[in-house]
Symmetry: C2
Subunit: 212 residues, 2 copies
């Protein structure tokens, strides 16, 4: 199956909820490293990749489409023009791997969807993109289920911790340090982050100072 993976990405000042632990420059570098892990995972499943960037961006060997518009508008424009199945995957999912993505891409339903923590949507795989549209922000998971129902498309919800774990908050860095297998985890380790058990509890520290 020929699947086109679309990865929305914000190159400038991304991941602001990590501002308490990373500078702007570090957040930009870290976000790009997570994006690289996502691209590797998606490519391992044989998908073609397009980065949908909000400003100029280069990633070796990957097509970048720059759209200075909202997430929903730019993704929906892509869906409208796609005749082959589309995977929309967020760039902050460094735990995504071949096994978890294969489960999503193997769905027998028209749409496979993976919620994020707190009611968000981390991944949508849609076989008939021209019939579907996305509505991110807020309780988007419910909105995406409703949009599928309205379009008469069947849905499978994929149950995956790796795909549900988006890295937004400092506490999410613990999950990446624990379960990561790629370059984003390495980036954290090479920038002073580490896991330590103190008083029987697991903590994330940076250069010896607790961040959680």
């Amino acid at each position: 199956m020929n699947v086109k993976a679309i990865i929305p990405f914000k190159p400038i000042d991304p991941k602001t909820r990590l501002s308490s632990v990373l500078t702007k420059e570090e957040r930009e570098e870290f976000a790009g490293t997570m994006l690289g892990d996502v691209i590797s995972a998606v490519k391992s499943c044989g998908c073609s990749v397009t980065i949908l960037a909000t400003s100029e961006y280069k990633f070796e060997g990957v097509m970048v489409s720059v759209k200075d518009e909202g997430l929903n508008e730019s993704v929906n424009a892509q869906l409208k023009n796609s005749k082959t199945p589309v995977l929309i995957i967020m760039s902050d999912l460094p735990l995504a791997d071949k096994n978890s993505l294969t489960r999503l891409l193997s769905t027998e339903k028209d749409i496979g969807i993976v919620p994020g923590l707190g009611g968000g949507t981390n991944l949508i795989f849609v076989k008939y993109p021209e019939k579907y549209h996305v509505e991110y922000y807020g309780y988007s998971f419910a909105k995406h289920l409703k949009a599928a129902e309205d379009a008469g498309l069947s849905v499978e919800i994929i149950d995956s911790m790796r795909l549900s774990t988006d890295v937004d908050e400092p506490s999410d860095l613990a999950e990446l340090l624990i379960h990561g297998k790629g370059k984003a985890r390495e980036w954290l380790l090479s920038h002073g982050f580490e896991l330590l058990v103190e008083n029987g509890r697991l903590k994330v520290k940076r250069y010896g100072k607790a961040i959680l």
Copy 2:
């Protein structure tokens, strides 16, 4: 396959990290309701069930073993005396369902393990319980992988959001309200909890007051 499910449970003053949103009596009732959902899920997979309670407790149709000792000691005593495969599942996993448990119980490895958020361990399925021992608390996920390696037992890590989501903190209640299918979700709804979108963000409220 004949699997014995062991569910550790603390009937008195459980879930203290929910103290900011639930009284002691409510926490005891809510914890019992989550336990009921876990028992239903485990029974739907054909497991026999034993509740390992820290004090007197009754649950209709389920064997309760009362042990006034630490979690590790009481679980390890059970493992030592089991000749059939054992599933150790925590009582605060109300999103556990037949599909996710079946994936765990179908592992071809000697042990199937599911991490919790923050390096904990939510479920362990072990085919040769007499060869294994548990070490909960702290970074128990790493300890449990090491214990398997030391015992020469092969391990599969099961990737499941439903099984990785333990309900400890007020923020976890959002996941239960979003993804729950059983009585624990109903309990929350009948006790004033609800999901509301405000300013584009999903919030949990109780009797109209935001708890997150």
